[in-house]
C-alpha cells in the first residue's frame, strides 16, 4: 500500500553544515546527486533552502523514494513532511493524522517559528496541537523520551509538520572531493573500500588486473557485477581492465617465489599511478588491511606503496575481517565476492611469501627484466568499461 500521508521529504545535510564557504558547492552537488538517484520518479520536484532540500512527492510513493535516498552519501537524515496552510485548525487535524499513523504510545510537539509574526507563539502552538491529539487519541505526552516527536515549522506562507527524523547514510556527496582509483580484485574487501571512499565524497573509478586465461571470464564478470552493485551509490562507474598475464608471467620467471607477490603488487601500484595521471585522479585506494596477508604487513605495505607517487588511502587498514564482512553484507556485495573464482593474486600464490620484504631486494629482482616495457604494454591495452545503474540485465525478463 502506498503511503500518501506525506507531501514532502525534508532532507538535512549533516556534515555539510560545518563547511563554511564551500557550503554552496556541497549543497548543489548533493541536490544533483539526489536528483540523479531519484530520476526514475518523474513526478518529483525539488526546492532548496539554506538549511534543507525539500523533495515534493507529487503523488510518488514515499517509501520507495526513501529507500532510494538511503543510497545518497551526504544526506544526514530526513523526515516525511506535511504541508499545511497557516490555519491552526488544519495543523491540528494533520498533526493528529501523523500521531495516529503508527503504534505510538507517547508524543511531544515541538514548534518553531521562522516567522515571528505568526499570531500564536511556539508554546501556544505546542499546547493547542498537543491538546487536540490528547483529546482525540489514546496517546500521552512525554516531554523527555517521546515515541513520536512532531516538529512544526512556521514559515511566512505555510506551515510544515514533520515526522520523526530518519537517519540516512551520511558522509559527503560523491564528487565533491575529487576522484579515487580503486584497485578492485573481486574479493570481499575492495568493494567495501570503494564505498568508504565514496562516502568521503570521492567519485570512484576502478582498476582491475586480469590474467586470462589463468583467471576466467567469470572472474571479470564477478568484478563487473560488484561494480554494478556500487552504482547504487554512484550512478556511473568506469572500470579499467588491465591485461596482466605477460607481466605476471615475467615476474614469476625472474624473481624468487617468496618475492613474487611483493613485486606483483609493486607493478600494480605503478600501473595505478599511470592511470591516475591520465585520468586526473588524486588518490589510489584499495582493500588492504594491516596484517591480513603477507603482502599487507606494515613492512610489505611500505615497500609496495613506495612505487606510487599518488596519495594512497587504505580505508580498511584498521578494520577486522569480521567488520569488513559485515560491511560487505550491508553493501550487498558479500555474496558476489565469495564466488570462488581465481583472481590474479591467488593464482601461483607462493608457499612462503615474504612478510618483511626489503626494497633493495625488490629493486634487484626488478632489474632482471624490462618491466617498464611490459607495463607500457599493459597500459596500452587497457580496456575501459563504463557501468551504469541504468544498465538492465537482459536476462531479467527470465524471472
Amino acid at each position: 500500500m502506498q503511503d500518501n500521508t506525506y507531501d514532502y521529504i525534508l532532507c538535512r545535510f549533516g556534515e555539510l553544515t560545518t563547511k563554511g564557504k564551500n557550503r554552496k558547492d556541497f549543497i548543489n552537488r548533493l541536490l544533483i546527486n539526489i536528483k540523479e538517484r531519484l530520476k526514475t520518479f518523474s513526478g518529483l520536484t525539488y526546492e532548496k533552502t539554506h538549511d534543507a532540500i525539500y523533495i515534493h512527492l507529487n503523488g510518488e510513493d514515499y517509501e520507495k523514494v526513501c529507500a532510494r535516498l538511503h543510497t545518497v552519501y551526504g544526506l544526514s537524515n530526513y523526515s516525511g513532511a506535511i504541508r499545511c496552510s497557516r490555519d491552526i485548525e488544519e495543523v491540528k487535524k494533520k498533526a493528529l493524522l501523523l500521531a495516529s499513523k503508527r503504534d505510538y504510545q507517547t508524543f511531544k510537539v515541538n514548534a518553531r517559528r521562522s516567522d515571528k509574526n505568526y499570531p500564536l507563539d511556539s508554546d501556544t502552538i505546542n499546547r493547542t496541537v498537543a491538546a487536540h491529539i490528547l483529546k482525540n487519541s489514546s496517546l500521552k505526552v512525554d516531554v523527555h523520551r517521546p515515541d513520536l516527536m512532531i516538529y512544526i515549522i512556521v514559515k511566512e506562507d505555510r506551515i510544515y509538520l514533520l515526522d520523526e527524523k530518519v537517519v540516512a547514510i551520511g558522509g559527503y556527496p560523491v564528487g565533491i572531493n575529487g576522484k579515487a582509483l580503486i584497485m578492485m580484485s573481486g574479493g570481499i574487501d575492495s568493494p567495501v573500500a570503494a564505498s568508504m571512499m565514496m562516502k568521503r565524497g570521492l567519485k570512484i573509478e576502478c582498476l582491475h588486473f586480469a590474467s586470462m586465461p589463468y583467471t576466467s571470464k567469470q572472474a571479470l564478470d564477478k568484478v563487473l557485477t560488484l561494480i554494478k552493485k556500487l552504482t547504487a551509490y554512484q550512478s556511473e562507474i568506469k572500470i579499467h581492465v588491465v591485461p596482466f598475464t605477460d607481466l605476471q608471467l615475467a615476474i614469476y620467471d625472474h624473481t624468487d617465489e617468496s618475492y613474487a607477490i611483493t613485486i606483483l603488487r609493486r607493478m600494480m601500484y605503478r600501473i595505478a599511478d599511470i592511470i591516475c595521471n591520465r585520468r586526473h585522479i588524486m588518490t589510489i585506494a584499495n582493500g588492504e588491511s594491516i596484517g591480513q596477508v603477507a603482502s599487507q604487513t606494515p613492512e610489505s605495505l611500505t615497500v609496495i606503496g613506495s612505487c606510487a607517487k599518488h596519495l594512497i588511502i587504505r580505508p580498511l587498514a584498521c578494520l577486522d575481517k569480521i567488520e569488513i564482512i559485515d560491511m560487505a553484507k550491508e553493501l550487498d556485495t558479500y555474496e558476489t565476492s565469495i564466488l570462488p573464482y581465481e583472481d590474479c593474486c591467488t593464482i601461483f600464490s607462493p608457499k612462503n611469501p615474504v612478510t618483511k620484504p626489503h626494497e633493495d631486494k625488490c629493486l634487484y629482482y626488478e632489474s632482471k627484466f624490462d618491466y617498464a616495457a611490459l607495463i607500457e604494454d599493459c597500459v596500452a591495452n587497457i580496456e575501459t568499461i563504463t557501468i551504469s545503474s541504468d544498465d538492465i540485465d537482459e536476462e531479467d525478463d527470465l524471472f
Binding site: S216, K217, Q218, E395, D397, L398, F399
Partner: protein, 373 residues
C-alpha cells in the same frame, strides 16, 4: 474449434500453462548447455538457474541452499520420506490417511522394505487433521510427521502452524508438508515446517518441475545418486530450463493470489450457492476449505457423470487424478466416509466465470435428472 467453448473444471489436477511462462520456457530450451559446464555459456545457464533459486528462496523467506529443484512434488515427497527413512533404518512416521499417492505409496514402501512403522491419522468431520491427534501419536522414535497443507480432493486446509507447534513442543520429529495445493491459494509460512513439497504444473508452470524446501541442516539421503547437482541431493543433469522459469512461475502465482484472491472467493461462494440449490447434490468440501476446489456427491455414478459432462465439453474429475485409472476407492473420501463412487471434484482458477459455472450447473442438473437411479 470446439476447444473455445470447453469448460475446464479440473484445475487442481493440472493447470493451464501461463503464456509468459511458456514463452520464456521455449526460449530457455534453446540454451541447451549443461549448467555444470565451466565455459561461459554453461556458466550463464548455471547463473540463471541459481538466480531463480535465490529469487524463489527470497519470495518464500528462506535461504538459497534450502531450495532443491526436483521433477515435482511427487519426487520431493519421495525424497523426504525415503531419504529420511534410509538414514533411520527403523523408527516411526506419522502421516494422515488422505495424503497424495506419492506420500502414501512411499510410506508403504518404507514400511515394507525398511521396517518403518507408520501411523495414519484420520481427518475430523471438517476434513482437517487434529493437532491433538498428532500429539497423541508422537512416539520416542518418531522421526517424521508428514501432513499435507491443503487436501487435493476435498480442499480441507490443515492448521500447519498448530501441528508444527505440537510437534516441536513434544518431540524431536521433523515436520514435512506437501504444500502443492496451497501455493498460490493460501498464505505459505515455511517457518512452520522443516520441509515442504511444491509442483510447478499446479500453478500454471511446466510439468516435470517443482522443488523441495528443506531446512539447511537436515540430513537426508539422495534417491538419485550421481553428481554435485542440487547440493548432492539429486544427481543427473539439471533440468535448467524448467528450474530457471520456476521463479517466474511462482512470482506470478503469488501475484495471482493477491490480484484474484477476492474474485476467487466470490466465485467459490457463487458456485457453492448454485450447487446447494440442487436438491440431490451434497457438498463434501468443508465450509472454510481452499477456494476453487469443491467436492460434491450426486446421485449419478462418478464415471457416468464425467462422461456425460465431457460430451458437453465440461472437464471434471472424480477422485484424485493420479489414481483415476485404478479401481481402488479414493482413500481421502474413504477417510471422510464419503462414497467415492458418486463423488465429483470440480476445481477452477481465476479464468473461470459465473457464466461458465452456470453452464456447468445446467448440465449437471440435466444429467442428474436423466440418469439418477
Amino acid at each position: 474449434m470446439q476447444k473455445a467453448s470447453k469448460i475446464y473444471l479440473d484445475h487442481v489436477s493440472t493447470s493451464a500453462i501461463d503464456e509468459e511462462v511458456l514463452a520464456t520456457y521455449t526460449r530457455l530450451l534453446k540454451d541447451y548447455y549443461n549448467s555444470d559446464a565451466l565455459y561461459e555459456d554453461g556458466v550463464t545457464v548455471y547463473r540463471n538457474q541459481e538466480k531463480s533459486r535465490t529469487l524463489i528462496a527470497e519470495m518464500l523467506g528462506v535461504k538459497y541452499e534450502e531450495i532443491i529443484f526436483t521433477s515435482g512434488a511427487s519426487e520431493a515427497n519421495n525424497l523426504v520420506i525415503k531419504g529420511l527413512s534410509l538414514l533411520h533404518q527403523g523408527g516411526h512416521i506419522i502421516s494422515s490417511s488422505y495424503e497424495h499417492s506419492s506420500v502414501d505409496e512411499a510410506l508403504k514402501q518404507v514400511a515394507k522394505y525398511l521396517g518403518i512403522k507408520v501411523t495414519y491419522l484420520n481427518p475430523k468431520k471438517d476434513g482437517s487433521i487434529d493437532p491433538l491427534d498428532v500429539k497423541n501419536a508422537l512416539r520416542d522414535d518418531t522421526f517424521l510427521v508428514t501432513i499435507m497443507m491443503v487436501n487435493n480432493e476435498i480442499g480441507a486446509i490443515n492448521d500447519i502452524s498448530a501441528i508444527h507447534k505440537v510437534i516441536k513442543d513434544n518431540a524431536k520429529a521433523l515436520f514435512h508438508s506437501d504444500m502443492t495445493q496451497a501455493l498460490g491459494k493460501c498464505e505459505i509460512c515455511l517457518k512452520d515446517v522443516d520441509m515442504a513439497s511444491f509442483s510447478a504444473h499446479k500453478i500454471h508452470g511446466v510439468k516435470g518441475s517443482g522443488f523441495l524446501y528443506k531446512r539447511k541442516h537436515i540430513e537426508i539421503a539422495p534417491l538419485i545418486s550421481a553428481g554435485q547437482q542440487e547440493f548432492h541431493l539429486r544427481g543427473g543433469t539439471s533440468n535448467s530450463p524448467a528450474n530457471i522459469v520456476l521463479a517466474k512461475t511462482i512470482r506470478k502465482a503469488l501475484k495471482e493470489r493477491e490480484t484474484y484472491g477476492s474474485y476467487m472467493q466470490d466465485l467459490h461462494s457463487y458456485a457453492l450457492e448454485q450447487l446447494a440449490k440442487i436438491p440431490d447434490v451434497t457438498i463434501n468440501s468443508p465450509k472454510d476449505g481452499v477456494f476453487g476446489l469443491i467436492n460434491i456427491s450426486t446421485p449419478v455414478k462418478t464415471e457416468v457423470m464425467i462422461n456425460a459432462l465431457d460430451l458437453h465439453g465440461i472437464m471434471v474429475s472424480g477422485k484424485s487424478t493420479c489414481g483415476s485409472r485404478e479401481d481402488e476407492p479414493s482413500h481421502t473420501l474413504k477417510a471422510m466416509h464419503i462414497d467415492s463412487e458418486y463423488a465429483l471434484r470440480i476445481s477452477f482458477d481465476h479464468t473461470m466465470t459465473k457464466e461458465k459455472i452456470d453452464i456447468f450447473i445446467k448440465y449437471l442438473k440435466e444429467t442428474i435428472d436423466r440418469y439418477a437411479r
